[in-house]
């Protein structure tokens, strides 16, 4: 990968980390609230279905995850397994798409 690409990947990981700090906090707080309030699956779905705010929030969360995780794994694969070069980047691009696909299915599952 070009030097510019590497520098931009680093920036993307930092930016996505900042986003994740916010998203994880909101996500955990919402889960704890839902459990303590005794909400069941039907009641949670009632709140999320058709709610563009939750759709937007989790879409942002998913985007941050799909960007952040593969870049972190890239360093782990390089340093621990010595796997570098195009094959590693292609595998991680596929992994990022898989994460995005699975996450999008989950989000749409509670929105639609």
């Amino acid at each position: 990968m070009s030097v510019r690409g590497e520098a931009l990947l680093w920036a993307a990981q930092r930016a996505s980390a900042a986003l994740l700090a916010l998203c994880v906090a909101v996500h955990l707080a919402t889960m704890i609230y839902a459990v303590h309030a005794g909400l069941g699956a039907a009641e949670i779905l009632h709140r999320t279905r058709g709610n563009a705010l939750w759709l937007g929030f989790y879409a942002l969360f998913l985007l941050a995850v799909a960007v952040h995780v593969p870049i972190g794994l890239r360093a782990v694969l390089g340093e621990w397994l010595g796997w570098r070069g195009r094959s590693r980047d292609a595998a991680l691009a596929a992994f990022a798409l898989a994460l995005a696909w699975l996450g999008a299915r989950a989000i749409l599952g509670v929105f639609l």
Partner: protein, 237 residues
Amino acid sequence: MSVLRVRVWRGSAEGAFQAFEVPRHASQTVLDVVTHIQRVLEPTLAYRFACRVGMCGSCAMTVNGVARWTCRTHVDKVARGGALEIAPLANLPVIRDLVTDMREFFDKWARAKGQFSGARSRADDFARVAPQSPARQDVDAAIECIGCGVCYSSCDVVAWNPDYLGPAALNRAWTLERDERDAARVERLRAVAGDAGCHACHTHMSCSERCPQRISPTAGIAGLKRAATAAALKGEL
């Protein structure tokens, strides 16, 4: 007179520790101990030193598992139970006993474009750099590196990625990045960015913890990351 039990690495990549007993003295340094062994007990012991006063950066060794400048390290500070284990610096090939091959370490300074590149000629007036300017303050904080290799030897990323330029070379690049007279800024950022450069640093800060000159290469590397990101976003890289 009390006695210090010392184990010293003998050999190169393959070898073993050899045990010695060295008389203890007040204010004795680890380099004093190694010198006593070589001059009195084992003349074939190879080690490297020059100035003995913390200026030349040639006497660094691994003392009880930690890289240190031995001429300024008192035995009192590092001996455990009256014992010392002295080995060559880690992350560098061992030539013999306590002497490492520093070529790769210094070659990386060159790969990081560690040379000053000026744009003025002798016909120009002197450059006037304000000592209190933020850029010059950054240079002052990082410029006193003596090239001892303690940071390089202490860095986990160097161990994981042999191509990684390492804290000392990146610290040098940072002093030039912040030198307003230098004219090779973008070229240098290209040389130090990426997987073998500043972006590989995990901010473990072992280099900053162990630098005998109290320099923080971690801070300089973070600065290089910011500078490289800004240059990448501007399309300069």
